[in-house]
């Protein structure tokens, strides 16, 4: 069974992985008819504040950090027209109105941490988005660093995105597609985030309710519980599983990961994002990643359907053969 699975999945997932990579560059051009392709906005290749669905930061890019740097003007990349952003929009109850479509900046998709070039796994040198520790490296325990290298060099088919799984946190927020924030009315008080990429979504109650899931329940994106601290949306995320990576470079965590996120609206077009990450099974100390989230300024922009798993013919074949009672060990090799 194991052998059969691997025979089947190796080719599939390599292809899926390639598709994901290709998509990350191609997707911004596939939009609704009332959302014409975004004009290039003079973005320097390493712009970290793309606002329009244009291809985002090169892996070398780095978010300006969550410490308040880089906010204030809501500009595009270098050369973008400097249109001053207005103040944070407000809902009738006074809370920040952060609804609309947004793009995460930063450059942590290939490697969330600072890294030298790793040609073997196709990751360029970059500073990542880790802001604490100051060296930009994830403070792995020695065994965990060894595992990260092994995973990235020998098990890239394990990358959870390549399987079309729900992304983990904070990887989901970094996804290289726009995402939509909704703040529906109602007594419960929710902030809902919907990504085009992998049709990920997060439903974040903000009424102060506690986590109620037992620690034995593990979810890809964990259990988010939010509250407002002034204008800052704080999200406490527990109950993640160990299946997701932070990036393509196999930076990983265990099912003990605990993430506290802070979404800080800086003006009407920019949100500062900071994730404090703790996982005593894997790291020697808590660490932080931070980047900016900028409003998608493309007129009429909408999320489209993102089918990742659908139409995967090798999946169909696998299921069909198994359901017909084929002995997995005797299935033909790809």
């Amino acid at each position: 069974m194991r052998k059969r699975f691997l025979e089947c999945s190796a080719g599939v997932l390599a292809a899926a992985g390639a598709a994901v990579v290709i998509w990350t560059w191609a997707a911004p051009q596939v939009k609704g008819q009332d959302a014409p392709p975004a004009p290039p906005q003079g973005g320097a290749p390493q712009s970290i504040t793309p606002q329009n669905g244009a291809p985002q930061a090169a892996p070398e890019g780095r978010g300006p950090g969550g410490g308040g740097k880089g906010g204030g003007k809501g500009r595009g990349g270098k050369g973008a027209p400097a249109v001053p952003a207005g103040p944070v929009r407000r809902l009738p109850d006074g809370k920040p109105d952060i609804q609309g479509y947004w793009n995460a900046g930063g450059g942590g998709l290939f490697s969330i941490e600072a890294t030298d070039a790793r040609k073997k796994i196709g990751v360029n040198a970059g500073k990542g988005v880790v802001v604490d520790p100051p060296d930009g490296k994830i403070p792995y325990q020695p065994w965990a660093r060894e595992k990260e290298i092994d995973l990235s060099e020998n098990h890239t088919i394990e990358e959870s995105d390549a399987h079309c799984y729900t992304s983990g946190i904070p990887h989901m927020v970094e996804a290289q597609s726009s995402f939509q924030i909704l703040q529906p009315e109602g007594t419960a008080g929710y902030v809902v985030m919907i990504w085009e990429y992998m049709h990920n979504y997060r439903i974040i109650p903000t009424d102060g309710r506690p986590h109620v899931l037992p620690s034995t329940v593990h979810l890809f994106a964990g259990d988010p519980k939010g509250h407002w601290e002034g204008d800052v949306l704080v999200v406490d995320d527990t109950n993640q599983n160990a299946r997701t990576w932070f990036d393509i470079a196999a930076n990983f965590h265990s099912d003990q990961i605990h993430v506290v996120e802070r979404f800080t609206p800086r003006n009407e077009n920019q949100i500062g994002y900071e994730a404090s990450i703790d996982d005593p099974k894997v790291y020697t100390r808590p660490w932080k990643a931070a980047f900016n989230i900028n409003r998608n300024m493309t007129p009429g922009y909408r999320n489209m359907e993102f089918s990742c798993w659908e139409g995967e013919h090798d999946v169909t074949e696998k299921y069909t053969l198994e359901s017909q009672g084929a002995d997995p060990s005797h299935l033909p090799k790809k």
Partner: protein
Amino acid sequence: MRAILSFWGAASFRGAASFYCAASFRGAALAVTLALPWALSAQTKSKTYEPSRLSDGKPDLNGIWNGPPVVNGDLQGAKVNGKRVIVDPANGKIPYLPATAAQVKKNFAERKQLDPVNHCFMPGVPRLMYMPDPFMIVQTPGFVGILSQFMHEVRNIPVDGSKHLENIDLWQGDSRGSWDGDTFVVDTTDFNDKTWFDAAGNYHSDELHVVERFTRSGPTTITYEAAISDPKTFSRDWKISLPLTLNTAKDAQILENECNYKMEGPTVTEGTRPDPHREAKN
């Protein structure tokens, strides 16, 4: 747990029973969202029900909802509260063209292999609304999202007078919402021909056009109707009607039904599957 299993088993009595039942074992978490809605189902349908309203005056559809999952097993045979789900035509039969009826039989015979949902593909419309998994309606003045627990599917429904896309086929189609008085109307076109209406092989072509109507009918109910048109597959238009039930449990939340993960099983990353790379080296 036993109650949950029988719930799922009943839900899939004719269709993908084995797959779904197996799937439900993994998700102890599902219990939180699946246990209560039907027990709490209110029988307070009334044409005169006055719904609570949002500040724009529209009825409040927000919340976690379940369709009756028995419908997912077999749309034609399903009854909810003693009533057929297919309300038009009156005989409760899907009016297939003679040329398409044979395909339904083939689909049914080979449903285990052919049902797209057995491959964890998007269920499409209207099937997503009566899958066993709950979904959340997120209602804002210009946009309504329907977020399903099944495979974290999302229906994006602009409510801004915009027109359908052209020359594109989508698994869930292209939906546009509008309000007809107190009824939320969703017009969906641009489907592909790869989804089914249920686990019994009832299907459609890429000419499918669905008009759904969501009407609050009680404190915990929505009357859901879908008018279905597809001249390549059916001899006439037909219509289904069924209740959606609000989950009123205090801590109800949408969790995850990561269907494809259940197909694939655990992995090297989690340390629960032997590492073939290391085996090879040794």
